[in-house]
C-alpha cells in the first residue's frame, strides 16, 4: 500500500497541511503575491519620481511606500521565496521523507503568513510604517506619534519568530535526516547554502529581536534605550540593527547562489567546478557576515579605528564571493551549454551580481562611502545585489524546479521573453541610479526640483521599472497558460544531477519509494551514468526508475489545524500590543488561542493509523514533534500521542508502565 496523508480537500487541506512540499508551495505563492504588492509600491514610487516636482502621492504617503517596499521585498518576498525552495527541496535533496518537525514547519509558515498580513493591513489601520526599513533611532522611532512604527517593530518580530523556528527545523533536518551514507560534504550545494542561511538567521535574528523589543518599549513604556535626551544611545540601535541586517544580506543572496550552483552544472553538463570551494566559501561568508556590520555606519562617527577595521573586513568578505564567481565560470568553461531559460537567469545572475558586488567594494572605502552614503548610488548597489542577484537567481530556480513542483514545463519562448525583458528593464531602472547617486540625488526624498540634472535618468528608471512589471506579467501568463497546456515534464526533464530528479514529477507525498543510499555527490547523476576509460560519461544500461512505487507502508504526519490556530493566536497578541492599554484585552484572548493551539497540538497523535511494527522493514513515521520550545512560549513535551513504537524497547516499556500504573 502506498502512503496517503491528505484526506482533507480544497482550502482546508492547505490550512492543515504538514507536508513540506505543500508548505513550500504556500511560501512560494505568498512570496509571489507579496512580490506583486511590493512591485506596485515600487511602481508608484517610480511614477512619483518620473518627473521633477512630481505630485502623484504626498510626502507622507511616499514615506509609507518606500518603507513598505523595502520591508515587503526583504521580509515578505526574498526570504519566503528562498524558504519555499528550501522547504520543498531541502528534504528531497538530502534523501529524507520530510523535515524533522513537520508541524513546526507548518507553524513557521502560518506565523510568517500572519506577520505579512499584519504589516500589510497597517495601510488600512492608520497608515503603514513610515520610518524606513532600517527604523533608525531617534527620528523614525520617536517622532511619529502614530502606531505606524509599532506595526513595524511588532511585524518584524513576528516574522523573526517564524524564521528562527524554520531555521531550527532545517538545521535539525540536515543533522539527523540525511540519507544513509550521505556525508555533509556530499550534500548538494543548494542544501548547503540553505544550511548556512539557517545558521545566519538563528544567530542574527535574536539580536534584532532584542532591538525591536527595545524599540517597542521605548515607544510604549517610556524606556530610555535610544532616547539621547534621557541618556540612551541611538547608535546602539544601529549596531543591533546592522548586526542582524548585514548577515541578512547573505540570508537573501546565499539561497540564490545555491540555486545557481545547481543550475549551472546541469545546463553545462559538467560537475560543479571546485565544489568544496563553493561550499567553504559559503561557510566563510556566513562567518564573516557577522564581522562587517559597521560598514553601514561609517557616517555615524565611530572613529578612525573602527572605520579602518570594518573597511578591511568588508574588503575581505569580497574574497569568498569572488571565489564563487570563478568557480561558476569554471563550471561553464568547456561545458556543452544549453541556453534554456533557467540557464539564462543563472548567467544573468552572475553578470549582475558581479556589478553589484563591485559597487559594494566601493562602499568599503570609507571616504568614498561618505560621499555615496544615502544617495541613489546605494540604492543602485543593493538592487544589483538583491534584484540582479537574488531575484534573478530565484527565477532561475523557479524555471528549473517548476516541472518538479507542477509536473509541467514552463513555456521556453515565453520564458526567454520573460528573461530578456526583465534583464533589460532591470538595467534601465537601476543602472542610471549609479549616475543619479554620484550626481548627488539623495534617497528617501519624495521629489526633486528641476534643473539639477536628475530628470533624464529618473524618467529612464521609471520606464525600466514598467518593463520589469511587464516581464513579471509575462511570467504569470506563462504560469497560468502552462498549467493545463504545458508540456508534461516527466521525472527528469533537464537530465539533472541531484536527488530531486530521482522522484516523479510532482514529487509524491512520501518523496522516495525507497530511501536512497548515497555514496557520492551528484548521486542521481552517478546512478544514471558511468565513466569510460577516457573519462567520458556513458549512460548506464539499467538506470533506476524514478516512477517506482513504494513496496512498504510509509507513514506520514497527519494534517493538523493546530499550527495555524497557534499562529493566529500570536497574531492577536501582537495586534493587541499595537493599541495598549485597551488592546491588551485582545492580546489576552490571543494568549488563550495560542495556548489552545499548543495544548491541542501536544496531545494530538502524529499519524492517524497505528504503525504496524512488523520488523526491521517497517519505517517509523517521520515524526517529530514539534516545536514547542522554539519560541519558548509553551510547555514542551510535544507529542505523546502516537503510542506506536512502544515495542522498540520492551524492557523499558515494562518499567515505564509500572511506574505510571502505580499512580494513575
Amino acid at each position: 500500500m502506498s502512503a496517503t496523508t491528505h484526506e482533507a480537500r480544497g482550502l482546508w487541506a492547505w490550512v492543515t497541511t504538514t507536508d513540506h512540499k505543500r508548505i513550500g508551495i504556500l511560501y512560494g505563492g505568498s512570496a509571489m503575491t507579496f512580490f506583486i504588492v511590493g512591485g506596485v509600491e515600487a511602481l508608484i514610487i517610480r511614477l512619483q519620481l518620473a518627473v521633477p516636482d512630481g505630485a502623484v502621492v504626498s510626502a507622507d504617503a511616499y514615506n509609507q511606500l518606500f518603507t513598505m517596499h523595502a520591508t515587503t521585498m526583504v521580509f515578505l518576498v526574498l526570504m519566503p521565496a528562498a524558504a519555499a525552495f528550501t522547504n520543498y527541496f531541502l528534504p528531497i535533496l538530502i534523501g529524507a521523507r520530510d523535515v524533522a518537525f513537520p508541524r513546526l514547519n507548518a507553524l513557521s509558515y502560518w506565523i510568517f503568513f500572519f506577520g505579512g498580513l499584519f504589516l500589510t493591513m497597517s495601510f488600512f489601520l492608520g497608515g503603514a510604517p513610515d520610518g524606513g526599513w532600517t527604523g533608525y533611532a531617534p527620528l523614525a522611532q520617536q517622532v511619529t506619534e502614530t502606531v505606524r512604527m509599532d506595526y513595524w517593530a511588532l511585524g518584524l518580530q513576528i516574522l523573526g519568530v517564524a524564521s528562527v523556528m524554520a531555521s531550527i527545523n532545517f538545521i535539525t533536518t540536515v543533522f539527523v535526516m540525511r540519507a544513509p551514507g550521505m556525508s555533509l560534504m556530499q550534500m548538494p550545494v543548494f542544501a548547503w547554502m540553505a544550511f548556512v542561511v539557517a545558521f545566519l538567521l538563528l544567530f542574527s535574528l535574536p539580536i534584532v529581536a532584542v532591538g525591536l523589543f527595545q524599540v517597542y518599549l521605548d515607544r510604549n513604556l517610556g524606556t530610555l534605550f535610544f532616547d539621547a535626551f534621557g541618556g540612551g544611545d541611538p547608535i546602539l540601535w544601529q549596531h543591533l540593527f546592522w548586526l542582524f541586517g548585514h548577515p541578512e544580506v547573505y540570508v537573501l543572496i546565499l539561497p540564490a547562489m545555491g540555486i545557481v550552483s545547481e543550475v549551472l552544472p546541469t545546463f553545462s553538463r559538467k560537475p560543479l567546478f571546485g565544489r568544496a570551494f563553493v561550499i567553504f566559501s559559503g561557510i566563510a561568508i556566513g562567518f564573516m557576515g557577522f564581522g562587517v556590520w559597521a560598514h553601514h555606519m561609517f557616517t555615524a562617527g565611530l572613529g578612525p579605528v573602527a572605520e579602518a577595521t570594518f573597511a578591511i573586513t568588508t574588503m575581505f568578505i569580497a574574497v569568498p564571493t569572488g571565489v564563487k564567481i570563478f568557480n561558476w565560470l569554471g563550471t561553464i568553461w568547456g561545458g556543452s551549454i544549453r541556453f534554456a531559460t533557467p540557464m539564462l537567469f543563472a548567467l544573468g545572475f552572475i553578470a549582475m551580481f558581479v556589478i553589484g558586488g563591485l559597487s559594494g567594494v566601493t562602499h568599503s572605502v570609507v571616504p568614498a562611502d561618505t560621499q555615496q552614503h544615502d544617495t541613489y548610488y546605494v540604492v543602485a548597489h543593493f538592487h544589483y545585489v538583491l534584484f540582479g542577484g537574488a531575484v534573478l537567481g530565484l527565477f532561475a530556480g523557479l524555471y528549473y524546479w517548476w516541472p518538479k513542483i507542477t509536473g509541467r514545463l514552463l513555456d521556453e519562448r515565453l520564458g526567454k521573453w520573460n528573461f530578456w525583458v526583465m534583464f533589460i528593464g532591470f538595467n534601465m531602472t537601476f543602472g542610471p541610479m549609479h549616475v543619479l547617486g554620484l550626481n548627488g540625488m539623495p534617497r528617501r526624498t519624495y521629489t526633486y526640483p528641476r534643473g539639477l540634472g536628475f530628470e533624464f535618468w529618473n524618467l529612464m528608471a521609471t520606464v525600466g521599472a514598467f518593463l520589469i512589471a511587464f516581464s513579471v506579467a509575462i511570467f504569470l501568463w506563462n504560469a497560468i497558460r502552462t498549467r493545463t497546456r504545458g508540456e508534461i515534464a516527466g521525472a527528469d526533464p533537464w537530465d539533472g544531477r541531484t536527488l530531486e530528479w530521482a522522484t516523479p514529477s510532482p514529487t509524491p507525498a512520501y518523496n522516495f519509494a525507497e530511501i536512497p543510499h548515497v555514496e557520492t555527490e551528484d548521486a542521481w547523476w552517478h546512478a544514471k551514468y558511468t565513466e569510460n576509460d577516457e573519462g567520458h560519461a556513458v549512460a548506464r544500461s539499467n538506470p533506476p526508475d524514478p516512477e517506482a512505487e513504494p513496496t512498504t507502508d510509509i507513514h506520514l504526519p497527519s494534517p493538523s489545524y493546530y499550527p495555524a490556530l497557534a499562529a493566529f493566536g500570536l497574531f492577536l497578541i501582537m495586534l493587541g500590543l499595537v493599541y495598549p492599554p485597551l488592546g491588551l484585552v485582545l492580546s489576552g484572548a490571543g494568549v488563550g488561542v495560542t495556548l489552545w493551539g499548543l495544548f491541542g497540538w501536544s496531545l494530538e497523535p502524529l499519524t492517524k493509523e497505528e504503525l504496524p511494527v512488523a520488523g526491521s522493514q517497517s519505517p517509523a513515521s517521520p515524526d517529530a514533534d514539534d516545536g514547542e520550545d522554539a519560541e519558548g512560549t509553551e510547555d514542551d513535551k510535544g507529542d505523546e500521542g502516537d503510542e506506536q513504537t512502544d515495542e522498540e524497547d520492551a524492557e523499558n516499556t515494562d518499567d515505564g508502565d509500572e511506574g505510571d500504573g502505580g499512580e494513575s
Partner: protein
C-alpha cells in the same frame, strides 16, 4: 544512554524523534545565547548611566540576591536528579524532582518580584535612567524564561502523570533539562555582570 543509542538508529532514514528533539533544543539554545548576549551588552553599555536615579551600589541587596541565586542553582541539581530518574524510567521519582525544580524556580521568581518592588520603592523604575531601563528589561526577560521553564517542567510532570510518557522519552526530560540548565547558566552571567561587577 546505551538504551537510547539503540533507539537512535535510523529507521528507513528516519531518526529517533526524541533524539531529534534534543538536537533541536541545542540549536535553539544557540540562538538564545545571542538573545541574552544582546541584552547583557545593552546593560554593560548603560550600567553607569544612572542620571539622577539611584546607582547600582545604592540599590542592590547582594546578600538577598545571592540567596535567591543559590536557590536557582540548586534547581539545576534537582533537574539532574529528575533526568537521572527518567533515564531509568523511574517516572514517579522523576516527577517528584520535576515538581521540586519547578518549585525552586517559582521561589526564584517570587524573589525577583520582591526585589523589583523594593527597587521601585527606592526610586528606580524602568524610566528613571538608562541603567534602570537596561536592568529591568534584562532581568525580567530572564525571569520570563524561568517562568516558561516552570510551565515546561510542570507540563512534563503532568504528561508523565497522565501516563502518556513512552519509555524512550526520558530524553524529553533531558530536553527540558537542557533548557533549564541554560537558564541557570545565563543567570550566573547576569548575576556576575549586573550585581557583582560594580565600578
Amino acid at each position: 544512554m546505551s538504551a537510547d543509542a539503540a533507539v537512535a538508529e535510523h529507521h528507513d532514514g528516519h531518526p529517533d524523534p526524541v533524539r531529534t528533539r534534543k538536537v533541536a533544543m541545542w540549536v535553539f539554545l544557540g540562538s538564545e545565547c545571542l538573545f541574552f548576549g544582546t541584552l547583557i551588552s545593552t546593560f554593560l553599555l548603560f550600567r553607569t548611566r544612572t542620571g539622577d536615579g539611584p546607582t547600582a551600589a545604592e540599590i542592590f541587596d547582594i546578600p538577598f540576591t545571592s540567596a535567591s541565586s543559590f536557590i536557582l542553582l540548586m534547581s539545576s541539581l534537582t533537574m539532574v536528579l529528575a533526568h537521572h530518574s527518567a533515564e531509568r524510567s523511574d517516572w514517579r521519582r522523576s516527577r517528584i524532582w520535576l515538581v521540586a525544580t519547578a518549585l525552586l524556580g517559582t521561589v526564584f521568581i517570587a524573589g525577583q518580584v520582591f526585589e523589583f518592588t523594593e527597587f521601585v520603592h527606592n526610586g528606580l523604575t524602568v524610566t528613571t535612567s538608562p541603567f534602570g531601563t537596561a536592568f529591568f528589561v534584562l532581568t525580567s526577560f530572564h525571569g520570563a524564561h524561568v517562568a516558561i521553564g516552570v510551565i515546561m517542567l510542570l507540563g512534563t510532570a503532568g504528561i508523565s502523570y497522565a501516563g502518556r510518557m513512552r519509555p524512550n522519552e526520558g530524553m524529553n526530560v533531558e530536553a527540558v533539562g537542557l533548557y533549564w540548565h541554560f537558564v541557570d547558566i545565563v543567570w550566573i552571567v547576569i548575576f556576575t555582570v549586573v550585581y557583582l561587577l560594580q565600578v
